[in-house]
Amino acid sequence: MVAVCFYFQVHQPYRLRRYSVFDIGKNSDYFDHEKNSSIMRKVAEKCYLPTNRLILDLINETDGRFRVSYSITGVALDQFREYSPEVIESFQDLVNTGYVELLDETYYHSLAFLYSRREFQEQVKLHRKKMREIFHYKPKVFRNTELVYNNYLAYIAKEMGYKGILAEGADHILGWRSPNFLYKPSGTNGIKLMLKNYRLSDDIAFRFSERSWKEWPLTAEKFATWINAVNGNGNVVNLFMDYETFGEHQWEDTGIFNFLRYLPREILRNPDNCFMTPSEVIKSYDPVSELDIPHIVSWADIERDLSAWLGNSMQKSAIENLYKLESEVKESGDERLIEDWRRLQTADHFYYMCTKWFNDGDVHKYFNVYDRPHDSFIAFMNILTDFRIRLKNKNN
């Protein structure tokens, strides 16, 4: 018996304006509304709406044998409401089928776990609240921003009441072990760890349209045979990926939607296969052993570490200076200041400052709204300077 567990990440950051030194003290609007709205509308049209429709059809066609899970960030939901409200409705329709699970994460898609436990927990609670408000849903499984994970995170998640947690199935933590089982995080009882099968996930998310890949073109039929091959040496194949894979990272003309359309049918053709959501996986299986992950892992790049967000001194300086303001921001009690401060925590802002792949102009470049990483840093630091002035004026 192999369960296929899909989890899709849905996120859009509030992108910053090219905030200049001349804006400091004069303009406290940090976000590029035009860009955010046009990107949101574009992605809604290319990805969210058509993919949601397709998934809804597939759930209905299979009477719920096909099922999936989502983690939708608070800032994505806020921007849906602002720029593309029909996307919220289509997610509500999906959740209402009863075959879609929602996960919790930090509202602002932040790296708060690394800098402030207090802030981290507040953001998770805000996300919980949002899930209740919009979907009348109480998530039971937690995933952290960019699958940033270690033993301690599992402990906190357990303390906050979660039954399961997701992480990257990186080679350097698994060694000879397989990601296709559940594990028990070292040092914590009562929470189960699910690991991403990165090979099969990335076959869809990254390699699907790569013509130089020896498996190109990837068909649903072929992918199903790879799932079948797990039979006998695994309980679950965790396919974790950005939802924008469908229609945005992989454009419609690559055939990605047709792939998704036929995938449930091909996988269910084998009576030993099924689809499960994370909570169902956790109910159905027990951990095969303990997994000790004292150091941080993430799902990014080959390194599977934090270097995409905190790899250079610009990134570190920006984020450290931001978190330094925490107590002052909270003391101010000013809702706008707190909201701005939190929106500035979104991990994407630091990702845009990454110089790691800069020289080979890789995937980072594609996601970068600025010309160069240095420009992102300049805008961010100018904003922070203005923010400090506002904070000081408020607290005086």
């Binding site: 030194v21 001349f22 800069f358 020289n359 240095h374 840093f377």
Partner: protein, 406 residues
Amino acid sequence: MRVLMFGWEFPPFNSGGLGIACYGLTKGLSRQGVEITFVLPRLEGNKGEDYMKVLYAGSGKVRFRSVGSILKPYITSKIYKEEFSRSDPKWSIYGSDLFREVYRYSQEAKRIAEEEDFDVIHCHDWLTYPAGIEAKKVVEKKGSKVPLIVHVHATEFDRTCGNPNGYVYYLERDGMNKADYVISVSNYTKDMIIRHYGINPEKVHVVHNSIDGESEPLLDEEDFEIKKYHKIVLFLGRMTIQKGPDHFLWIAKKISEIDDNVRFIMAGNGDMFSRIVEEAANLGIGDKVLFTDFLSGRDVDKAYRMADVYVMSSISEPFGITVLEAMKNSTPVIVSRQSGVSEIVKNCLVADFWDIDEMVNKILAVLNHPELRESLAIGGLNEIKNFSWDEPARKCISIYEKAIQR
């Protein structure tokens, strides 16, 4: 492969990037076994010839010839007349204006072409195009063929900010039309060649300039007294309209209003020099802007090292080799988007030359954030390490080969 090359200037008697580029390119070519006869309007006496022999000691593949004129690459017709009247009469017999001198250079080129054996003619910028055309004719008269390559380091549109002298434009276009291939130093310039000169894009090949990143030991760390008290923003280039020294002053003015402690060094000379000095005083920043006049050799490196940031504010810069020099000296760079160098260099900041606010924004960011400065300096240095004149030389050789086979 033997190349007959026509140029205008060569270090140490250069006033701009053209001489540096010719020096670098001939070095790269000679390292790959190309034999070059390099023709210059004049050699600066015996000293000059010795110097050039020293430059190529060991390879022996580059020879220099001169035709003894007062041509200078960035000269304007007006300055030429002034200089002409002051110069030695033996150079004056052929004509009293710049264009007659260009003509005379081309006639001398005929004589040289008669005496030399070569497979390709390679001309650097418009003053030498008539010479190249004449040399090609000499070969054709003998009944054989030799390709003509013209290398565009700058166009009249760059030098004059869009108000070209008609005759210079004519000579440029004539050279490009008669050439077998045109080499341009950037896509930015290629675009200009296509748009303003109507040259078939397939005939134009882009060969970006370079720098020998690993060669020549860098200066030792030096303590500059001024740096203890001030942050320094550097302008380095000819003071002509093309380089935007006036824009730099407006930038300096704005920065001074925000940070009183920043000093601006303007290195270079040119037809706008006195105007710029006066303008600095007019703007009330006469005490903040320091002038060094034209710098060469080690002094250039020193200026870069002294600076916290180098700003290339050019209005139209076909390439911008100073950016590579600054990066080699670990100096953070802000470069005008209207430039060729911004096509190939990553570890620098880019802004439109006319966007004074954005220039100021970026300069202040570099001055105020050590992390940014460090990222640009280290990133730039690492990037430059992979640069070498061998690369453009290889591209030129393949263009030569293609032209010969045609």
